[in-house]
């Protein structure tokens, strides 16, 4: 049901953990529904230097979180805002339809982290 790529990111996530003194933190999801995601970003000169996650959830949720971090690292805030759920899913070799919401959750959490960053900056 899961692609090799998704299982790889699930089994050996590279980006889990927290960033102390993160510039932006986002949290989305609900334990009752089965997934909660947290994304931490470190921003330098308008670019995302580092991104880490903490996720409660299934294979897809953990894999999507890890990939989300990969995708946004090195991007400008403007570019990161454009990351779509489809990009996350495609990167994972297409998530099963029923699991697509995990990639949506990833995008939502990143959006919240960026909002948090922009609010703090102002």
């Amino acid at each position: 049901m899961y692609s090799k790529k998704a299982l790889q990111h699930f089994k050996k996530p590279k980006n889990f953990g927290i960033i102390k003194n993160a510039d932006g933190i986002g949290r989305a999801g609900n334990p009752v529904c089965g997934d909660v995601m947290e994304v931490y970003i470190k921003v330098n000169k308008g670019k995302i230097k580092d991104c880490k996650f903490k996720t409660f959830g299934c294979v897809a949720a953990i894999a999507a979180s890890d990939v989300l971090c990969e995708l946004c690292k090195g991007k400008t805030i403007k570019q990161a805002k454009k990351i779509t759920a489809k990009q996350i899913s495609d990167y994972l070799g297409k998530l099963p339809t029923i699991k697509l919401h995990c990639s949506v959750l990833g995008r939502e959490t990143l959006k919240k982290a960026i909002e948090d960053y922009e609010k703090k900056k102002d």
Partner: protein, 378 residues
């Protein structure tokens, strides 16, 4: 190491079962309804199998109806009674197998009235609730014997007494408990019992429904007058032979073996922090272990276990096709932090202590890793 701990889903066929079945594919392949010798040879095997299964329940052979499995047996029992009465009220519980729950929901659409009994935190129905729910038009009470997810064994003796007192047919889904718990229809008042072969090291595709004499069912599959005119279709002779063989070789020693491994496992695993046993400690199916791990998700635990060669199952929302947490775990009111962290391990007579020890070696590491990834908890 490969460890199969999903015997609640299905079991490995016993070699003796396979051997017993083999002649019925290529040598004794007759149609049990044919009058010639090849047919009669098959008929004899079918009837001997029926006798063995009947004996296990202390029933009469003509009270055993072969079906395609547990789900069909549940459908035949519940719809069979409902359609023969035409209307009325059915009492069941909130922790039934989908084969019972969905059947009742379907009947509800057809204007039958259904009461779904609540259960307590260990999964037991209240006998008082049951008795209070009985109405003048109650036509059937269907309560699962041993729950497939959390292993709770209901008191079918007492439920049977209540049903008898009110003169209402009693159906129980005994798919998980058959050959693990004693069921004696002479001692316990039960009208209908669903049983299945592949849960006890027999072949898939065959099960049976015990129908006590005197109960009138409407048949669901029309055709010939097979199975005492309750289930049309050419008899699955090889399946019946395999089912009967599986019943015949089941024994108390195997049950005890499973019980010992279960208790050993539960005692050890509860040493991990923030782990709960779902279902009761006593009155629990001999092969069922169901745990809830706080702050981590069941499908993820299962996927890591699978990567280590261990097969398990979960009732978490993410793992289901409807993205809903198992109705059983909801019914026992598991708190939110535990609700999606369930893991079911079901052992069999083939499970060894060495395999269980291997799980002990791997599972705590997995729990630790997932908790490190999780944002919940401390």
């Amino acid at each position: 190491m490969k460890v199969y701990l999903d015997n609640g889903a299905t079991t490995k066929m016993d070699d003796a079962v396979l051997k017993a079945m083999q002649p019925y594919f290529t040598e004794k392949y007759g149609n049990a309804s044919s009058l010639h010798s090849k047919g009669q040879e098959a008929k004899m095997a079918l009837e001997e199998s029926r006798e063995i299964i009947a004996k296990k329940l202390n029933a009469r052979p003509d009270e055993i109806i072969f079906t395609s499995g547990g789900t069909e047996s549940d459908n035949l029992a519940i719809k069979g009674i409902a359609y023969s009465k035409g209307k009325g009220h059915i009492i069941t519980s909130k922790i039934e197998h989908p084969a019972v729950l969905k059947t009742c929901e379907e009947l509800q659409k057809q204007n039958f009235e259904i009461t779904y009994l609540n259960v307590d935190s260990e999964g037991f129905i209240s006998l008082q609730d049951l008795e209070n729910s009985i109405k003048e038009n109650t036509i059937l009470i269907s309560i699962i014997h041993a729950n497939n997810e959390i292993g709770t064994i209901q008191d079918i003796q007492k439920i049977g007494e209540i049903c008898k007192k009110h003169n209402i047919p009693f159906h129980t889904d005994a798919v998980q408990s058959f050959c693990k718990e004693d069921i004696n229809v002479k001692k316990t008042n039960i009208d209908l019992i669903s049983i299945s072969s592949h849960k006890i090291h027999g072949p898939k595709g065959i099960g049976a429904l015990y129908v006590k004499k005197g109960n009138k069912l409407k048949k669901l599959i029309d055709g010939g007058k097979h199975e005492y005119n309750l289930r049309a279709g050419t008899e699955n002779v090889s399946g019946a032979v395999g089912f009967a063989k599986a019943v015949k070789i089941s024994n108390n020693k195997d049950t005890k073996h499973m019980e010992n491994l279960r208790d050993y496992f539960i005692k050890e695993i509860l040493k991990i922090e923030k782990v709960k046993l779902n279902g009761p400690k006593d009155k629990r199916l001999c092969n069922n272990i169901n745990l809830a791990f706080a702050y981590i998700e069941g499908e993820a635990i299962g996927a890591y276990l699978d990567a280590k060669g261990i097969c398990s199952s979960t009732g978490s929302a993410c793992s289901s096709k409807e993205l809903k947490t198992s109705h059983v775990l909801q019914a026992i009111n598991l708190s939110p932090e535990y609700l999606n962290g369930s893991l079911r391990l079901t052992i069999s007579k083939f499970t060894t202590k060495q395999e269980i020890d291997y799980v002990f070696q791997e599972l705590p590491k997995i729990v630790h890793k997932l908790r490190k990834i999780s944002p919940l908890g401390d």
